[in-house]
């Protein structure tokens, strides 16, 4: 059984790559806007269907559409953000709770809309990358790396690095970080909270939609797919520490590895149980996430 370990680790890392793409932008939007967007899975689903139809109409590889989909959904996010901001900036009641309810409702409506528009069948997005895999057997390692999943991991790392650069090295990022720390103080320093919030939400929706295309190539797509990804996004972000972006890749990789190793070496039917047990143990030890740096 030990000869399976390299493959188990590889599969786990590749799975982790998928979880990074699902959770990274979700974490960003929580860090800045303090909104847990329960519609994250639905943005992923909309992106997946957009990629599916663009591929169907043009016959081109879905990966070529990623920039188009980002721009399109950035626009959607930019326009919607003020609506969510309005709910969150109320002075009466509990704005945080209202935000949860609002996005939860959005998710249900989006799912219903998708069922009506896209139908109820499961689909798949074909891509040139879906065809092959890298076999490391000639190098003495019994490991196969599916090309499409490797592309997924590369995409996850690229998005992480770009976001890191944007947040740490640009003026926009400085504003975003200031806003995340203290909204009023950032405002006094000249950060336009409304516009920055719209940009951040736009980036989040855009990245989530691109992730949908990727997932459609690796797995399957359907109007109900969002729910599952929302749970994983939430899980990774909680494990990473709410709003702590740098923790996301590590939490995602941990989740992928636990899942992979458990599926191969233990009873696969208890995989999710193991994953959640680990989450609870880590939260008991460190309530602010894996690195103790969550909000």
């Amino acid at each position: 059984m030990m000869e399976l370990l390299p493959q188990a680790l590889t599969d786990g890392i590749l799975l982790g790559g998928i979880y990074i793409t699902i959770a990274i932008a979700f974490s960003l939007t929580y860090g800045v806007m303090h909104v847990i967007d329960f519609a994250v899975g639905e943005w992923i689903m909309f992106g997946a269907f957009t990629g599916y139809y663009l591929n169907k109409w043009t016959g081109l590889d879905p990966f070529l559409f990623l920039p188009v989909i980002f721009v399109l959904y950035f626009g959607v996010g930019y326009v919607i953000q003020p609506v969510i901001h309005r709910v969150l900036s109320g002075t009466k009641g509990n704005p945080f709770l209202m935000g949860l309810v609002f996005t939860f409702g959005l998710a249900i409506m989006f799912r219903g809309l998708a069922l009506t528009v896209f139908g109820f069948y499961s689909n798949s997005i074909p891509s040139a990358f879906s065809e092959g895999s890298f076999d490391l057997e000639p190098l003495g390692l019994a490991v196969t790396i599916p090309t499409v999943r490797l592309v997924g991991l590369a995409y996850a790392l690229a998005i992480t690095l770009i976001l890191h650069y944007l947040l740490k090295k640009t003026n926009f990022g400085l504003g975003v970080r200031a806003l995340a720390q203290h909204k009023d103080a950032a405002g006094l320093m000249g950060v336009n909270s409304k516009r920055t919030g719209s940009y951040v939400y736009g980036i989040y929706v855009g990245i989530s939609a691109m992730t949908g295309v990727l997932l459609g190539c690796i797995l399957s797509i359907g109007a109900q797919m969002g729910n599952e990804y929302t749970i994983f996004a939430f899980f990774v972000v909680v494990l990473a520490g709410m709003g702590y972006l740098a923790g996301v890749p590590w939490a995602a990789l941990l989740l992928g590895l636990v899942q992979s190793i458990f599926m191969i070496y233990f009873n696969p039917s208890h995989t999710l149980l193991a994953v959640f047990a680990i989450l609870y143990i880590i939260l008991l030890i460190s309530p602010r996430g894996l690195f103790g740096k969550g909000v």
Partner: protein, 413 residues
């Protein structure tokens, strides 16, 4: 304040007391349909809906169900089970106590059916599911629940037997099932059949529903099984095929039960669907003859194509056949709309006695044993996707085309 509290308690208590179902006078049959119109099993739920709708549409086009010379149209009242057994049970209560339906056409999934069956037993309302296949439903011996699709332990063995007749015969098998009532039962049925056929089971795993199974399949690949058999639902089938292709393992035969007979599966996976085996008990080309509604399977497939741009699969057909079973039983006892409890009890007896040839094949419900109230009138078939079409490849008496075996490698397709 205290009085208000008591009133609330009384109200809650009143809600828990079984509300007697009164008969209602009307000139049409009011039929409740509980199925999964949202949630994870929305695809199957909508396929069952299509089956029930097509039956109702055909009956109403003929003026309704003829009872003692008078025709009574049918009206379907839908309730969404949300792919959730508890929601299904609540939906059943609502249809029975508020909508006062005459009888019920049942859910897509076995899990929801298992939750609804005790409710229909409690209110003594007959229900036929046109889809659910878990053996558990029939082992529980619910008096008011019937099913037109035979349970998976009745059908599953046929496919394993067909595979063992291939040359060179497969020797090893890996069996994986998703963790829901139907899929788990499918995997277990394949396991029992494989043990009987002396196939060596190299892996048997039940995985949580909807999971990415790539790591598990990597482990399976290292065991190089000749056959991989999977029990799951539509979305999981697509993921399963893609994961196998991504890790580059082509077994000699890939067997999947539910859903591969639907055109949508073939559309979703394209050429990767070729040569996949499945278990079913009906195809659009089955040689059936009937005097009720559609004369044969081809006529039904054509009607479905016209209505939904899809020829329909065995689940959809099973649902339309459920309608025909009720129709036949109602005619037999001359039951009119707005049935009282005594008539509904008679309807159960009539259902137990019917033996009718339909476009779907023979419908005859078992009245005892482990298949109690399941349809045992059908012959299970092994099918294979060939050239984008579902072809029957076993058992020998029903063969439409010889099976292609072993499967062509993913990379050379």
């Amino acid at each position: 304040m205290k009085f208000g509290f008591v009133r609330v308690l009384l109200l809650i208590a009143a809600l828990f007391v079984a509300i007697p179902v009164h008969a209602e006078q009307r000139n049409f049959f009011k039929i409740g349909v509980i199925t999964e119109l949202s949630g994870d099993l929305v695809t199957g739920g909508n396929i069952t809906k299509r089956g029930y709708d097509l039956w109702a549409q055909e009956v109403n086009a003929k003026g309704g169900i003829e009872i003692q010379g008078k025709k009574y149209p049918v009206k379907l009242v839908y309730a969404d089970a949300q792919s959730n057994p508890a929601a299904g049970a609540a939906a059943a209560e609502r249809l029975i106590t508020q909508e006062k339906v005459d009888f019920i056409l049942g859910p897509y999934s076995s899990g929801v059916t298992l939750a609804v069956a005790p409710v229909v037993d409690k209110y003594k309302i007959p229900m036929i599911t046109g889809s659910a296949e878990s053996p558990l439903i029939w082992k529980n011996k619910f008096k008011y629940t019937f099913g037109t699709i035979p349970p998976i332990n009745f059908t599953g063995a046929t496919s394993i037997k067909t595979l063992t007749e291939m040359k060179p015969a497969p020797k090893t098998i890996a069996i994986i099932g998703s963790n829901d009532a139907f899929s788990k039962a499918t995997a277990e049925a394949y396991k029992t059949a494989a043990e009987k056929a002396k196939l060596k089971i190299v892996k048997f795993s039940i995985v949580p529903s909807g999971q990415d199974m790539t790591p598990l399949l990597s482990a399976v690949r290292s065991m190089k099984p000749d056959v991989i058999a999977f029990g799951g639902h539509d979305e999981e089938h697509v993921k399963f095929v893609k994961a196998l292709k991504q890790i580059g393992y082509t077994p000699k035969a890939l067997l999947m039960h539910c859903g591969i007979t639907d055109k949508a599966f073939i559309d979703a996976v394209g050429k990767d669907g070729e040569q996949i085996f499945g278990t079913t008990c009906w195809t659009g080309t089955a040689k059936t003859k009937s005097k009720v509604l559609w004369p044969n399977a081809a006529a039904y497939a054509a009607a479905s194509q016209k209505a939904f741009n899809n020829p329909g699969d065995y689940t959809q057909g099973g649902c339309s056949a459920a309608g025909i079973a009720f129709q036949t039983a109602l005619q037999k006892i001359g039951a009119k709309p707005g049935m009282d409890e005594a008539t509904r009890t008679k309807l159960i007896t009539a259902l137990e006695q019917i033996d009718v040839q339909t476009f779907y094949g023979r419908v005859k419900f078992a009245t005892s044993g482990e298949f109690y109230h399941a349809n045992v009138g059908l012959d299970p078939l092994t099918v294979q996707i060939q050239g984008g079409h579902v072809k029957t490849v076993g058992p020998k008496a029903s063969v439409e085309a010889p099976a292609i075996y072993p499967m062509k490698e993913w990379k050379s397709r």
